[in-house]
């Protein structure tokens, strides 16, 4: 078993590929997992786009997470589901790839990405180009054996404080070692942007719990993450400070901004739209 597929690879197989234009593929969430964060479903689309971009760049450059205009979270994903992935590239050049895409389950869209941009970096600074190409060949032919992913370790947030119902901050200690660093990336470990996004969503859920309750029978749920911007690479052992602030509140929606800082420098930001949704 290729260890990459146990760590942080979320495309089992590419079923259709037009280098520089787009790709289709799928990923099976291992049934034995306790859960699968929805941010990793978005990561799967980003990875599919990355394969289509790298194929167009002859594996000399690869995109990294940078900007996501909008990520619509339409329905949760569960272990055992087969994620049908699509990525459509607007451009794939040596400095950046721009793309959109979606995840479907049984034909229904569960996650949708719009206006995403990934700055390109040299593949060889982050990974072994021959190894990347071999993994690409595998997922374009037989495909990776599904079920290898072992999950991501829980990275707890340290609650700091804030103004009840208006703002909340927390610390996040990036682990010194974790399985996902072996894949993201072998030559230069980087804390994945989608795990930052997941941490942001957790902080937002804490702040949502302090908001006035939505209409009867409903609860605050994240619906769209917009204007996601990751400004720098986060390395193992980095200590981050997260802050969530309420921007707007109506009877059935709320907008919360989230910012991540490392030693006071802004490293990431996004806005999260919460909607009141029926409790199932």
């Amino acid at each position: 078993m290729n260890p990459h597929f146990c760590a942080f690879s979320f495309v089992d197989r590419i079923t259709r590929l037009e280098p520089g234009v787009g790709a289709r593929g799928h990923y099976t969430i291992p049934a034995q997992l306790n859960g699968f964060p929805i941010s990793l479903a978005a990561e799967a689309v980003g990875q599919l786009a990355a394969w289509a971009a790298m194929a167009a760049m002859d594996f000399e450059f690869r995109p990294v997470a940078g900007i996501a205009g909008r990520v619509h979270l339409l329905s949760p994903v569960q272990p055992g589901m087969v994620l049908e992935l699509s990525a459509d590239l607007k451009t794939a050049e040596s400095d950046a790839v721009a793309y959109g895409g979606e995840v479907r389950v049984h034909g229904n869209t569960v996650v949708q990405l719009e206006n995403c941009v990934g700055p390109m970096v040299n593949v060889r600074d982050f990974d072994d180009p021959a190894g990347v190409r071999a993994r690409f060949d595998l997922i374009c032919s037989d495909g990776a054996v599904p079920g290898a992913f072992e999950g991501v370790p829980v990275i707890p947030l340290g609650r700091m404080g804030g103004e009840r119902g208006r703002s909340l901050s927390a610390t996040l200690a990036v682990p010194a070692a974790a399985p996902f660093f072996l894949d993201h990336f072998p030559r230069r470990p980087v804390f994945p942007g989608t795990l930052q996004m997941q941490a942001n969503l957790e902080l937002v859920s804490w702040l949502a719990a302090e908001l006035p309750p939505p209409p009867n029978g409903t609860a605050w749920k994240p619906r769209t993450i917009s204007d996601v911007k990751l400004r720098t690479f986060i390395a193992p052992n980095d200590n981050l400070e997260l802050e969530a602030k309420l921007i707007e509140l109506t009877a059935d929606s709320a907008i919360i901004s989230v910012e991540t800082r490392k030693q006071q420098r802004l490293t990431g930001s996004a806005r999260v739209l919460l909607k009141s949704q029926e409790v199932r």
């Binding site: 206006n115 941009v117 700055p119 204007d227």
Partner: protein, 147 residues
């Protein structure tokens, strides 16, 4: 493509949409995005913001913006060696750059000027002019009317 410099009227016609794209990309108030604001020094833009701004402008104006090619374009017919030497802009290059970035006051060009410093000179108007040049190019190529 025509090489006539963009007119003030053309610049003011695109400015509201350019400013809106910049304010959205930088997460700042629209009022802060003045025509002569330096993206880096006044608005705090970083490299990822430049990418964000360019893609937002492409979507807003439905034109292709030549990313990272402002410097190349400003060089005109000067060769790279004529334009820069050892990472610094030559005297001939500086003349060309000052003409191309005519919206930037002369006192903002440090001497010597390193090539890496050039983006620090870019203002909101620089991007307005970039959009106008691309709109003209699109019209010249018959690919449609500017948005």
């Amino acid at each position: 493509m025509t090489h006539n410099p963009p007119t003030q009227e053309e610049i003011m016609a695109v400015f509201p949409k350019v400013a809106a794209a910049m304010a959205d990309a930088l997460g700042c108030d629209l009022e802060k995005v003045k025509l002569d604001a330096s993206l880096i020094d006044d608005l705090g833009a970083e490299s990822i913001d430049f990418l964000d701004i360019v893609f937002r402008l492409e979507r807003a104006f439905k034109v292709k913006i030549p990313r990272g090619k402002i410097v190349e374009e400003s060089r005109g017919d000067l060769s790279e060696a004529e334009f820069e030497n050892g990472g610094h802009v030559t005297a001939a290059g500086l003349d060309r750059l000052k003409a191309y970035l005519s919206e930037v006051p002369p006192e903002r060009f440090p001497a010597p000027l390193s090539v890496a410093h050039i983006p620090r000179l870019f203002t909101t108007e620089t991007f307005c002019k970039l959009v106008i040049r691309q709109q003209r190019a699109a019209v010249a190529e018959g690919s449609g009317q500017p948005a």
